[in-house]
Symmetry: D2
Subunit: 348 residues, 4 copies
């Protein structure tokens, strides 16, 4: 039932085990293809690996058990994948890579795709606000500061403020067509930026194949990108939270500055119309504002890989993305449900 208010089917589909495994397989396939193109791995091995990835059906319970023991899914996943490969091809799988490369890159690809969905929804909501501004913007609507009436104004003023918040967040996403995160390809112990020209070329090729930005060096222990992306997720959820807070307040009896179609009911007072979506947006904003903190705690990353800090990211980042998804979905519905706005909108 909570899924209805805090979940998101489309974003959720990018975050489940199937999508994660598919993206890891795409990484492994692209890695050996790139290595074959560079003459590091035989073409036949790369073909075998691609075929094995296509045919692979994960034994999820075994991966779950291994997850508990190893802290990561990749060693067991590779073990299963290798079972479908000849010995000579098997040793070329995951070559020069480590679990973190596969897992971070899978996250990067899926977060990029989630960002596209979020961007499209924000743009749709901003478009709807533009139409609303045209349609209803001329209604009188006093500005309120510190919750008190400040000056006479128009509905268009408040609507434009809402729209600009969505536009500025959308702009940030448009600047990053490959997403906030980047290819991860550091190998077992990470590599400094300048270490190895060949490896850099391979990484550039891999980034192109996967449609991901290329980082100057691996970011295995520098989680600033994750923090930035999480900040954007919380920032956009906060923008919808502000819109929701305004609308919930505008719907108050006595204020009556907005009329929503399809406002919700109560078990004890069936006549009462509650601005449920508006309040849910506030809750989602506060949820992501809280979760962001954990991502920043994850910056304190011991040595060349912190199991603790990295696991904390896994617990939080998908949740934040889903919450942003719910905010864009419900925010779009709420904006679409505005029937009247401005002073006297709700007066009988």
């Amino acid at each position: 039932m909570l899924g209805a208010i805090a979940g998101d089917r489309e974003i959720g589909a990018l975050l489940d085990d199937g999508a994660d495994i598919a993206a890891i397989l795409e990484f492994e396939r692209a890695l050996s293809a790139g290595q074959a193109a560079a003459g590091i791995v035989p073409q036949s091995a790369a073909r075998d690996i691609a075929r094995a990835c296509d045919r692979y059906t994960p034994d999820l319970p075994a991966i779950g058990r291994a997850m508990m023991r190893d802290g990561v899914a990749v060693p067991e996943l590779l073990r299963q994948l290798r079972a479908g490969l000849s010995e000579s091809s098997a040793r070329h799988l995951h070559r020069g890579a480590t679990s973190q490369d596969a897992i971070d890159t899978s996250m990067a690809m899926r977060m990029r795709d989630a960002t596209k969905l979020l961007l499209a929804r924000m743009q749709a909501a901003a478009g709807e606000l533009t139409r609303l501004e045209r349609r209803l913007g001329a209604s009188a609507l006093a500005s309120r500061t510190r919750l008190k009436v400040a000056l006479p104004g128009l509905a268009a003023d408040r609507i434009a403020r809402w729209r600009r918040m969505l536009e500025s967040r959308a702009l940030e996403a448009k600047k990053r067509p490959g997403g906030w995160l980047a290819l991860q390809y550091g190998g077992p112990a990470g590599r400094p930026a300048r270490s190895d020209r060949k490896r850099q070329a391979l990484a550039a090729d891999l980034a192109r194949r996967l449609g991901l930005p290329m980082a100057g060096a691996d970011w295995q222990t520098d989680r600033g990108r994750v923090a930035d992306f999480a900040g954007w997720l919380s920032d956009l959820t906060g923008a919808f939270g502000k819109i929701g807070q305004d609308i919930a307040l505008m719907a108050q009896n006595g204020i009556d500055e907005i009329v929503l179609k399809d406002a919700g009911g109560s078990s004890a007072m069936p006549h009462k119309r509650n601005p449920a979506r508006a309040e849910i947006l506030v809750a989602l904003a506060r949820y992501n504002a809280t979760l962001l903190s954990a991502i920043h705690h994850g910056l304190v990353h011991e040595f060349e890989r912190s199991g603790a800090a990295w696991t904390l990211e896994w617990l939080v980042l998908p949740n934040m993305c889903l919450t942003a998804g719910a905010a864009t979905r419900i925010g779009g519905e709420l904006i679409g449900s505005i029937e009247k706005i401005g002073d006297g909108a709700g007066r009988k």
Copy 2:
């Protein structure tokens, strides 16, 4: 796959939609039974209601849709339940109650049951630590302050500190056999404590039927109980986090103060044994430490019911309980996997 490290089957079963609906039905059944015993509701209506509850199969998609519209599941759930009742009985269902009464009481019952599970696991882990203290406590183990060796000591000293942390948290739970939360029975707009002797008697009877503590007044807008319970959940997860942090540090090459059986592997270095469970405990502790903040934001509860603050609780409290569940489960496994402890334990 994340479920393997952050989930908990037993606790999870108390938190799903089925368990929530079952507890809401138990509330409605007990409410009309109590009202019938008090002569407020006809015995036949109470019997009809009990039967309808027994037979009821929720239409979950319809509840999901209503959730989005109303912000709560109960109005639609009651609508479905009333469809199986005669008109004369239907008007006695949910009498004098509001959605929040049913939902908060359902949460209270399930959190009480989750607490019992957590308590049992903490006691088991403390027992295991007692045995460990006896078995391995005599090994030399220097104390470390600020990560530096401080004074000579025994493994028993550190093990006893771990045990006492679990015992003190367990003691808090034992003091509250009915759990931290209480019966909620405030009605549509809440009732001051002294308002109504009859209602108080009814509430006392209802609390007895449901095995819940009785609050001095309704706590619809005073979420201090929720904050206290969430604090305990984070506190116990933090205790396991401290144990996990110690063990992960003790397992470092060069420190080598602990040997764990079944430590995990790496995709690139199969010989390496990682203290995965220990690190997961740290991540779980930091997750709950972060989430707790959202529960306290929920204390700022507008008027007689805040949709925003209440929804925020729903997003967070079950997560916190699940995370505490994972910590007790994984903590128990980790403690059970200690083979050697003390200076030189891991030296070849």
Copy 3:
């Protein structure tokens, strides 16, 4: 200027360097007095130590420099104190204790005193609400759920809910006359509970002398007490935040359910009356709700003393106490400024 809204003179005086040093000296004095009474330390040394403590004037810049180097103030403070003692007395100063004993005990004493102030203010505010309930409680005031008018009611209903929140938090403090924290007396590497009967007797004597609760064992690495106390601070700040949020909303033009004397002005619209105190209470509540999270991160305490986790407490706990102080102070003023309440209170 921020001090005016977020500070508190009385609580602040318990948190400054002078108060900290005075409490540390009280600990050292009581420690050697107790040890002298137990025959462990010569009476003359205890008298010398008491006299040196009385006469001691701290060289604060030197302590500041040492703080940076050592991470704690106590080693340098003791060095300065020893300079005023004969060599034979000097070696009995701080005997069997470690920096953390002195620092945690100082914090415990000052937090106990702060709690007394907070309690007195909460009781005064609750008393004022009782008077308000009598004086203005009969005004009509509809309840509002999800910000919408729910049912007719009286001002007394809402006022009583506010009062009960303060009373329940006050009750928690009254249950703990010596405060949440306890004497810390673990020595350099901490001591398990059962280790040493003599030391336990000494600790009990020390707790009596200092007016502090006695913990079952040292709590050097188990920061659950700190977490519990911080939870209470946030919980009470949250209670005032809820009252502030309600009042700020009641003061909205169009709602007009409350009249405050001495509401604030605006630089651009001098006629506008802003419910500044009410909004400040909301900000303080959200500040403490956020800070609490850091205290719970501090539960992950490495080994027998974590400099990182302990320093984090120092950065946060005094702030939380000060914020709770500001909330009780401003909350009292706000409640005292209510002139009218209830439907139509603010209608011209």
Copy 4:
């Protein structure tokens, strides 16, 4: 004493009342100068205002009292300033502006200046790491993942990772020479972006005069810029936290991979050398990671100005900036204190 570890004199000087008032006066002066240049305000009035600003000595106690009543300092500050102006000049002071314009712009100027200091320190620390890499980089230093030895490597690898973290954060600051925040000039109720060409020209002139970026529209209620800046502050504090965590762990007895000069002492064990600065960096990182959450809660900003959300920013943003200041200061000292690094550095 806490100031020694969590404070920063240079950054602190930008955050105190004097600096705030000076920046507000600079805003008022530039505003009337710009308005005079545009022919909106008489040149003589602008000159009078500039002179009054030069001569003005704030009555801080009166501002403190007004702060409590009005929630902001500006109305009282302007009242005091107007007392030194002729009536004809006085009405041109603060023309077309509101308190928030002055306060946010003051914050923007001071945060820009703080950013310059932080940037210079990060660059100095990165430079020191470059020198360290050259000087000590050839020492053997095994990489560690999940706290366990992974692969052989060089000290240069770890040092380079530290350096790159600082460089990437510095780069973000270099991209924004005027800082993250922007001129605020929205007037009493804010203005939509396209409303008024004349006002836009005035704003552009004002931004030039004050050396601040120009936002597309006022950002009175869209606090995304504040959130982005706070994210950067936490991100850089986190980078130093990671360095501190690594160094504290490297200094462990048994690991012994680093030697620091001037490591701190203990009250009970004078021979013990504690990596106090390293641990303080971890605490500062976790403090800012926590505080960031409050800034994101401030995104939920009611209507055209939220006293609650705005006050929350004031409580948190200066603290975050000071904490980042302490991290850059202490981080620089810690890096400068590294004497040996790499495997065996600390072995006797």
